[in-house]
């Protein structure tokens, strides 16, 4: 059976440096944990298919911001062409939690008057002993911004799958309800049935393929 995707969602992963953005993405797209991670350079997008309902697959293109130059025009373009994102902080690093607001503000300043669907992720939840941010306060913060909150660990593969699928489901529902519409010239959501965007089937089945556009 052909593994064709219904939609392609472009997602970003943001948060302070060293919160484990690349590790989370690699765990999700490659199924492994890179213990010693060299700063990611050049590889923009990781792709993976996600099945949200039987037979309904969504292709996720995930942008890793690590190693990117901070030119405003470039960052802006990535934000603008994303429909959703994971906003990461490190539960063992209070500072990274306090910066969550700034990250949201930055995203907002780039995509006005639109918005990005974010999921708040407390990363490194395997390091319970070093925890500096309680689940309660993180949930409260997420609630205040209308986000959901999930705690993950890339090392122990806790909730990684869950975090991405949750976000995908949330976006899918918004696309279904018409709150998010596919626009020509916007790459946040692409429909798999537009002829010139459909990839050949064998390309798509390579789920951990890196797309480098």
């Amino acid at each position: 059976m052909e593994a064709i995707w219904l939609y392609q969602f472009r997602l970003i992963v943001i948060g302070d440096s060293t919160v484990g953005k690349s590790c989370l993405i690699r765990r999700f797209t490659e199924g492994r944990f890179a213990q010693v991670s060299d700063p990611t350079v050049g590889v923009d997008f990781f792709s993976r298919l996600v099945e949200i309902e039987p037979g309904k697959r969504i292709k996720l293109q995930i942008w890793d911001t690590a190693g990117q130059e901070r030119f405003r025009s470039i960052t802006r373009a990535y934000y603008r062409n994303s429909v959703g994102g994971l906003l990461l902080f490190d539960i063992t690093n209070r500072r990274s939690f306090q910066n969550v607001h700034d990250w949201l503000e930055e995203a907002r300043s780039h995509v006005q008057p639109h918005s990005i669907v974010f999921l708040l992720v407390g990363h490194k939840c395997d390091l319970e002993a070093q925890r500096q941010v309680t689940r309660q306060e993180a949930e409260k913060l997420a609630g205040a911004y209308g986000m959901r909150y999930i705690e993950t660990s890339a090392r122990d593969a806790i909730n990684v799958e869950h975090a991405f699928t949750e976000l995908t489901r949330e976006i899918f529902a918004l696309v279904r309800s018409g709150d998010i519409t596919i626009q020509e010239g916007w790459e946040g959501v692409k429909s798999g049935f537009v002829p010139n965007v459909v990839h050949s089937s064998e390309e798509v089945t390579k789920s951990d393929r890196r797309c480098l556009c």
């Binding site: 590889v43 923009d44 405003r72 062409n81 008057p113 626009q183 020509e184 010239g185 790459e187 797309c211």
Partner: protein, 909 residues
């Protein structure tokens, strides 16, 4: 690591991969390829650049191959190209940068500018052909695209590589911004030269000034708009450009397609570089003179070449040649009409006219705001034209602008109004001093009156239909959302929806402040906002602090851990059982605006520590089934978002000793809620110069003293009772009045951190910075008017005013029945009272010439007969307008005048 990279790069394999002709029609190959180039570009620095840039052969494949994709249809490819170029420009290698400028800058920038311009024309077409806002999706994308371009240009400019910036600035000014954007402001609709419509041009220019701050570019641009005439487009002598040595400095400013594609240009350039030919002067073929050009000698040489370029350009098309003469004719014609013509500025000012709508005006306001806030625009230029410079000391302002700003009022969107208030303040406030002329101030007041009137009647309208409940919530909600989300011009200019003609329907999804109101509720919301904005404006112009709004300041409220003197207060003991099952023994105290739960203070008898305090107005009280001693109490957090689900800050069962106490508590709370809301409504009424309901002051026990107080007093809750507990008279009178109202506890609240409140001799005004001035004013007026008046907490005293109200069984506003307040036996229409008291202030009530709804018309009959125009006198100076303002607040007030009578009893619900 470096060694490895060096090894990998040094044998030139990388460059042969870069120039390999891949099949770029394959999306995947394209993606890998451009990503590869980008990865390499991220590694560029002063050392590694030599592996890619060959000085001797003048090759820089990484860069030249990448920029060929600058207009690739896939946006992610374009972004990668931009990243590569920025990474290249930021490497500080003079040889490489000279190469970039001499061999590639003109082809790349001219094509880039053409690409941007084409998007702009597409954007304009999208606006022009729109029907029923159907193009909004596409338009939004095109606007975002334009912003992308501007941010990219700005990123290049802020790398601050001077000679690259010169070329880029020249292209942007002379090939894009001036010919395409600015010229479209004045060219007649039918003209060939008009490429885009003026509103689109204004919008895009605002974006330019908001994003780009590079001085040589934006100053030159601002100079043409604010100061230039049409000669900027026709004559050979260019007075505005600061770049006399630039490509088109001697030539004609025109938005035109580059003569050949970027790829071909680069090829030719490379070819020429090797053979050192001079055939195509279009591409600065000065490779052999690199050394000289690095020094000062290069300038002259460049100038020579430029002339050739211009000549070459003018041969490109006969059609464009024709256009030049047309432009010249137009310019010449304009010059004969006006002596010193500033057609662009004239256009900008005339677009502020809002007689039909504020479609253009909003963009002009944004443009003026952006120009005046730009770091790149010379202050001199703005000052010469007396344009608002934020935070600058000055003694005069642009009369034309201010008058036009003042005229912006009716039927405009809230965003337009907010911006025009902003610019007005910027224009006439010099430091803390206001330099507005009385005549303008008077205009402002006249202008404000119709809207205030409208609000007044909307208020009544609402009262009659929905009751005051919703009005109060709406009033406070609007204030909260307005102050929590002040206008952000940059964000406003990112919204494509304002590019389409203003609309009223919320079905478009357009933000409330960016469209006209729809329906009565929104009209009321709008009227409330207008009121807030004009009030803030007039207060600020007078240099007076806001003492009335918000109706509830958090700092005035009783807070947790406050210690209160509860002697003489009614306290009811109860057990508070919260939702999570936790229990606590507390005393319930009901205050004017709040209910609080206290526990005894151990050190002082009769004092209590507040454990919880919540606003009565947001409280719901209900009985508990099966328990006649218990009440269920919920207090919601006031939210700034009316759509958000109310968040309870207290949700608990209160269990009392017996049924009687429970009933007393319930009554006290219920009554307290009504009273708290009524107090606030009275304060709103006073703010609007609406009379207070009769009997209200009596109910609260202020009947005697309140009459002695002038209106317009600060209503700050608790300000004085907190600070002056040492005044025995004040205390007594507070309690005396409280005693008239059973079940009403007025507590004396002293913040715990205050060291010794009882012995503090400080006058009431000393404590608070923001309200200090007003407090002292209040104190002095009190003592002047009635020396015996005790120093009541002003927040507890609604202004005594004639009373107006609606009969609830008559729902139409026309049937307003006017009744006298209890103490005045005569009956007069309120407008008559106004003119009797202050004929000089009646100008304030002048009706708008075109009332917009039926309520206005009915009022007009009453008011016009008593309205007389007053020319403000010249000699008064600053005092004069303060006088005007002061009396505006008073003109309904003095109760001793036997008029004022507009009232009927309204059943509160």
């Amino acid at each position: 690591v470096f060694e490895m990279v060096y090894y990998l790069l040094s044998n030139n394999h990388v460059n042969s991969i870069i120039v390999h002709k891949f099949d770029f029609s394959d999306e995947e190959i394209m993606a890998y390829y451009i990503s590869f180039l980008k990865t390499l570009s991220l590694k560029l620095n002063n050392h590694t650049v030599h592996f890619f840039y060959n000085e001797h052969t003048n090759d820089f494949a990484l860069y030249t191959e990448a920029i060929k994709f600058f207009n690739h249809p896939e946006s992610m490819v374009r972004i990668a190209v931009r990243t590569i170029t920025l990474n290249v420009y930021k490497v500080d290698n003079q040889h490489m940068l000279h190469y970039i400028r001499d061999k590639t800058a003109v082809p790349y920038f001219s094509n880039l500018v053409w690409f941007i311009g084409s998007h702009v024309i597409e954007l304009d077409k999208c606006v022009q052909t729109d029907e029923e806002h159907k193009n909004r999706g596409k338009l939004s994308d095109l606007v975002a695209e334009h912003l992308d371009h501007l941010h990219y240009l700005n990123d290049i400019l802020i790398i601050n590589c001077e000679f690259l910036n010169d070329v880029l600035t020249d292209h942007l000014l002379n090939r894009l911004f001036l010919p395409l954007y600015v010229y479209s402001l004045v060219s007649p609709e039918t003209s060939e030269e008009r490429k885009i419509s003026p509103q689109v041009s204004l919008y895009l220019l605002s974006q330019v000034f908001l994003i780009i701050h590079y001085q040589p570019l934006v100053n030159a641009l601002a100079d043409v708009i604010l100061n230039g005439d049409l000669s900027a487009f026709s004559s050979q002598t260019d007075v505005h450009s600061t770049h006399k040595n630039m490509v088109s400095a001697g030539g004609v400013r025109r938005f035109s397609k580059p003569p050949e594609s970027l790829e071909r240009s680069l090829e030719l350039s490379r070819h020429r570089g090797r053979k050192r030919t001079q055939k195509r002067p279009n591409y600065k073929n000065l490779g052999e003179e690199d050394d000289e050009r690095a020094g000062e000698g290069g300038e002259r040489e460049k100038g020579k070449e430029i002339e050739m370029v211009v000549m070459d350009k003018s041969k490109v098309s006969d059609l464009t040649e024709q256009n030049i003469t047309d432009e010249e004719k137009t310019a010449a014609a304009t010059r004969t009409h006006t002596q010193r013509s500033r057609p662009f500025l004239d256009m900008v000012y005339s677009a502020l006219d809002c007689t039909s709508d504020d479609y253009h005006a909003l963009f002009v306001l944004c443009l003026l705001y952006a120009v005046s806030h730009s770091r790149g625009v010379n202050r001199d230029l703005l000052e010469r034209l007396q344009l608002p410079v934020p935070g600058q000391e000055r003694s005069s302002y642009s009369v034309v602008l201010v008058e036009r700003l003042i005229r912006i009022m009716n039927q405009v969107r809230l965003a337009t109004l907010e911006l025009s208030c902003l610019l007005l303040k910027q224009s006439v406030l010099s430091g803390t001093r206001c330099i507005i002329k009385d005549v303008h101030l008077a205009c402002l007041e006249v202008k404000g009156a119709p809207d205030t009137n409208m609000l007044t009647f909307k208020l009544l309208f609402l009262l009659s239909f929905q009751g005051e409940e919703i009005f109060l919530d709406m009033f406070e909600d609007e204030y909260r959302s307005m102050t929590s989300k002040p206008l952000n011009v940059e964000y406003l200019m990112m919204d494509a929806s304002i590019l389409l003609p203003p609309t009223g329907t919320p079905l478009t999804g357009i933000d409330f402040v960016k469209r006209l109101p729809c329906g009565d509720v929104e009209k009321t919301r709008r009227a409330i906002r207008v009121f807030f904005m004009l009030r803030a404006l007039s207060l600020q112009l007078q240099g007076e602090p806001e003492t009335q709004l918000p109706l509830t300041r958090p700092e005035d409220l009783i807070k947790m851990d406050d210690v209160l003197d509860l002697n003489n207060s009614d306290l009811i003991a109860c057990m508070v059982v919260s939702k999570d099952g936790s229990q606590a023994q507390r005393f319930l105290a009901v205050d004017v605006y709040q209910m609080s739960l206290v526990e005894p203070e151990t050190k002082r008898l009769g004092w209590g520590v507040v454990k919880f305090a919540g606003l009565l107005q947001d409280m719901q009280v209900s009985g508990v089934e099966d328990d006649s001693r218990a009440l269920n109490i919920i207090i919601h957090k006031p939210s700034s978002n009316p759509h958000a689900k109310p968040l309870p800050i207290l949700q608990a069962n209160f269990i009392f000793a017996d049924h009687i106490r429970c009933i007393i508590a319930k009554q006290r709370l219920a009554k307290g809620r009504i009273q708290a809301r009524r107090m606030k409504m009275q304060r709103i009424a006073a703010l609007l110069d609406l009379p207070v309901q009769p009997g209200a002051t009596e109910v609260l026990g202020f009947g005697q003293t309140a009459n002695a107080l002038p209106s317009g007093l600060p209503f700050r809750f608790y300000e004085q009772s907190r600070r002056a507990p040492n005044d025995p008279t004040a205390n007594r009178s507070v309690f005396a009045s409280v005693d008239k109202v059973p079940g009403f506890a007025v507590a004396h609240c002293i913040p715990q951190h205050s060291p010794s409140p009882l012995s503090s001799p400080s006058p009431p005004s000393s404590g608070s910075g923001s309200t200090g001035r007003c407090d002292s004013v209040t104190a002095s007026t009190i003592s002047a008017q009635s020396p015996a008046a005790p120093a009541l907490a002003p927040s507890l005293t609604p202004a005594s005013q004639p009373t107006i109200s609606l009969l609830t069984d008559n729902l139409s506003v026309e049937s307003l029945t006017l009744l006298p307040p209890a103490d005045s036996p005569h009956l007069h229409p309120c407008a008559a009272a106004l003119s009797l008291q202050r004929p000089d202030a009646s100008v304030l009530e002048e009706e708008d010439a075109s009332p917009t709804d039926e309520t206005d018309i009915t009022v007009k009959d009453e008011t016009t007969e008593t309205t007389e125009l007053v020319t403000p006198t010249d000699e008064g100076g600053e005092d004069d307008f303060i006088y005007l303002f002061a009396h505006k607040e008073k003109h309904f007030s003095p109760p001793e005048v036997d008029s004022g009578g507009t009232a009927a009893e309204i059943k509160a619900h």
